[in-house]
């Protein structure tokens, strides 16, 4: 389902955008304003990150946002309620839950998948759930026609890419470089080759994440990847210039695509 939606969008766009936000940071109200801004800019996919106290795979910006959100009292139930609200309000956008495994695990894997399906979520990005530990989770996702997004990384062997590709669904989230989110990636020839390699091993749309900073990066990705992921950058922008600033930034990027 998710893949088809993406393919449809691709018919008239060179590069889709997937943005990200940390639920409850700095508040659900700002989250709302941000999603509105993203929608206004025509963003196709949004990762809703349910904050976890130990965001091992996140960089400083997202990590801090998670931490602040929890400090202000954010509950998983509120995150789900919020997701339900925005899924309903912005049906044109594909929403995914991004979180760490413990959140669905403690919620109950089955209950979490069912709930997500019920409120209109399209899939999941769970950075600490590797293939080897995901048997039950994948069954649940399949059962409910939700996509668990697998991640391709530069450290994967060809064999591993093949293995991941064989279970991937919706799209693959491709990492441009080693390290955590939010650091600058060099958008260069090497990255282009890396994407080409990923492309060789999957027929699914390719989202490229980790480090997209602005227009130039996006232009570089157009024609190479299918989806550009913009994460930490938007949190910084929101902090500096607010939701309208984010909207302006996204629209500018969007303009050429």
């Amino acid at each position: 389902m998710l893949e088809q939606t993406i393919r449809k969008h691709q018919e008239d766009k060179k590069l889709l955008l997937m943005t990200h936000l940390v639920l409850g940071y700095p508040s659900f109200d700002v989250n709302r304003a941000m999603i509105k801004a993203m929608a206004a800019a025509g963003v196709e996919l949004i990762e809703l990150q349910i904050p976890f106290s130990e965001p091992m795979a996140d960089g400083p910006t997202i990590m801090q946002a998670c931490c602040d959100s929890l400090d202000s009292g954010t509950k998983v139930s509120e995150c789900i309620a919020f997701a339900e609200e925005v899924c309903a309000e912005f049906p044109q956008i594909q929403f995914l839950f991004m979180t760490y495994l413990n959140i669905p695990y403690v919620y109950g894997l089955k209950a979490f998948v069912e709930k997500s399906k019920a409120i209109g979520i399209q899939g999941f990005i769970i950075p600490d759930l590797p293939l080897e530990e995901s048997e039950q989770w994948l069954e649940l996702c399949q059962e409910h026609q939700l996509s668990n997004i697998f991640i391709f990384t530069p450290t994967n062997s060809i064999e591993r890419l093949q293995q991941l590709a064989s279970v991937a669904d919706g799209f693959v989230y491709c990492v441009g470089r080693r390290g955590v989110t939010g650091k600058k990636t060099d958008f260069d020839q090497e990255l282009a080759e890396q994407i080409a390699l990923y492309r060789k091993h999957t027929k699914l749309p390719i989202a490229l994440g980790f480090g997209v900073q602005g227009k130039e990066d996006i232009e570089f990705l157009a024609g190479k990847a299918d989806i550009a992921v913009i994460g930490s950058k938007l949190i910084q922008l929101q902090e500096e210039v607010g939701a309208e600033g984010v909207e302006r930034f996204l629209k500018e990027i969007r303009a050429d695509l």
């Binding site: 130990e54 091992m56 080693r178």
Partner: protein, 411 residues
């Protein structure tokens, strides 16, 4: 999530790692399996520990204490005599040999109290590795002496300002570093937690304690101990000594967690001895965590920084479930009393962590017969903890000394 899978102990354990680290773990596991097969590795390890540290560490008969309690005969395994002052040395030196075999040139580690950080920095100096230590910013402030030594040993100490600024945040930070530098870098996990193969590998390296202890008890006492007490932070010293006695049905194994202000207060770090933990998946492995109903990790508390951690070894969670190990908790108060008593009666200054094992043993010793032999694993020495211990005793002369030194430095 079948129970037969590699790295699982009952329902606990596993390897919940970001995909970017997959190949690093593949490599680590393959090297680990190689050294486990290769008898020269263990030889090299034992040799290193006997020339660089002072293994085998002795077992001290604590005759004064035995007499004082009038119950069980008390024996103490002296990990405090290790180079750098704790059992942590075993693990780091073993991993150091492994890093050499992996041809990596840099090590990173998390540290809470600083003990594992100092041990890792020491190992890095000895092996000539670059070294970065992640330490919660709050711990950096609290444990300046250890930070001083780590820096002198050539390590870079990075204060972690995220989250609660303590051990678990340092672990997150170390993982983050690793995901960016896995080609050159090995993450020296400090205890029997984290993703496979760490729980198994660190247990294996620490099993040198139990191997020695079993032989020593048989030789010196002529029988196995009836009970063995060890404190449990992550669980490495406990698993280390328990390892030697897992097949001995007659030996009761007791793990002692941090009871902090008391289990009923909620201010503690007892994952297994309290009813307060639930199963979760965090920092790469599945175990019982002190977490809230959403799965967010809770604040924990103990006077002993090394026991103050939200998770616990998946192996111990399994043993908890099967009843193989009994878990108890000792409160800060009980711990300070036990520490004072050991110092006074036997002239041994225990680490605050280790004093938890003492506290529980001291509760039980008087109720046991004179024929009962109990063995306490003294995981580390306490003289490095002077700031914490003097403060915990509210020692006025110490405070005056520090005030005066401070004024002198300020002048």
């Amino acid at each position: 999530m079948s129970h037969q899978k590699q790295g699982y102990y009952g329902q606990f354990g596993g390897m919940f790692i970001p995909e970017i680290l997959k190949s690093t773990f593949d490599e680590l596991i393959s090297h680990y399996e190689e050294i486990r097969q290769d008898p020269t590795f263990w030889q090299e390890y034992e040799n290193l520990m006997s020339t660089y540290s002072c293994r085998p560490t002795p077992i001290t008969p604590a005759d004064n204490l035995s007499q004082y309690f009038g119950g069980a005969q008390i024996y103490i395994k002296r990990e405090d005599l290790n180079h750098t002052g704790a059992h942590k040395a075993n693990n780091v030196m073993g991993q150091g040999l492994l890093v050499k075999r992996m041809k990596k040139t840099r090590v990173i580690a998390e540290t809470g109290a600083g003990q594992h950080g100092v041990a890792t920095a020491t190992m890095a100096a000895k092996f000539g590795f670059d070294c970065t230590i992640y330490m919660g910013a709050e711990d950096v402030e609290r444990q300046r002496p250890n930070v001083f030594w780590m820096e002198k040993l050539g390590a870079e100490v990075i204060p972690v300002t995220d989250g609660t600024q303590t051990l678990k945040d340092a672990i997150n930070a170390a993982f983050r570093d690793w995901t960016g530098n896995m080609d050159t870098t090995h993450y020296v996990m400090g205890t029997v937690c984290g993703p496979h193969p760490f729980p198994e590998m660190v247990t294996w390296l620490q099993s040198i304690i139990g191997k020695e202890a079993r032989i020593q008890m048989l030789q010196a006492v002529g029988q196995l101990p009836d009970k063995i007490y060890a404190c449990v932070g992550g669980g490495s010293n406990a698993m280390g000594i328990f390892s030697g006695f897992l097949e001995d049905e007659s030996v009761e194994l007791i793990g002692v967690e941090a009871g902090g202000d008391g289990l009923q207060t909620g201010r503690h770090a007892a994952r297994l001895a309290s009813g307060d933990s639930t199963v979760g998946i965090c920092q790469g492995y599945k175990t019982r965590f002190l977490q809230d109903e959403d799965g967010q990790m809770r604040d924990t508390y103990s006077v002993a920084a090394g026991l103050d951690y939200v998770g616990v070894s998946p192996i111990l969670s399994h043993y908890h479930e099967t009843g193989k190990v009994r878990f108890e908790a000792a409160t800060d108060k009980e711990v300070m009393a036990a520490l004072e008593l050991l110092i006074r009666k036997e002239g041994i200054i225990p680490a605050l962590e280790s004093a938890h094992a003492l506290a529980q043993a001291f509760k039980e010793a008087p109720t046991l017969s004179k024929e009962t032999k109990i063995l306490i694993n003294l995981s580390g020495r306490g003289d490095k903890d002077i700031f914490t211990i003097a403060q915990a005793f509210d020692d006025q002369k110490w405070k005056e000394y520090i005030i005066q030194k401070g004024e002198q430095y300020n002048a």
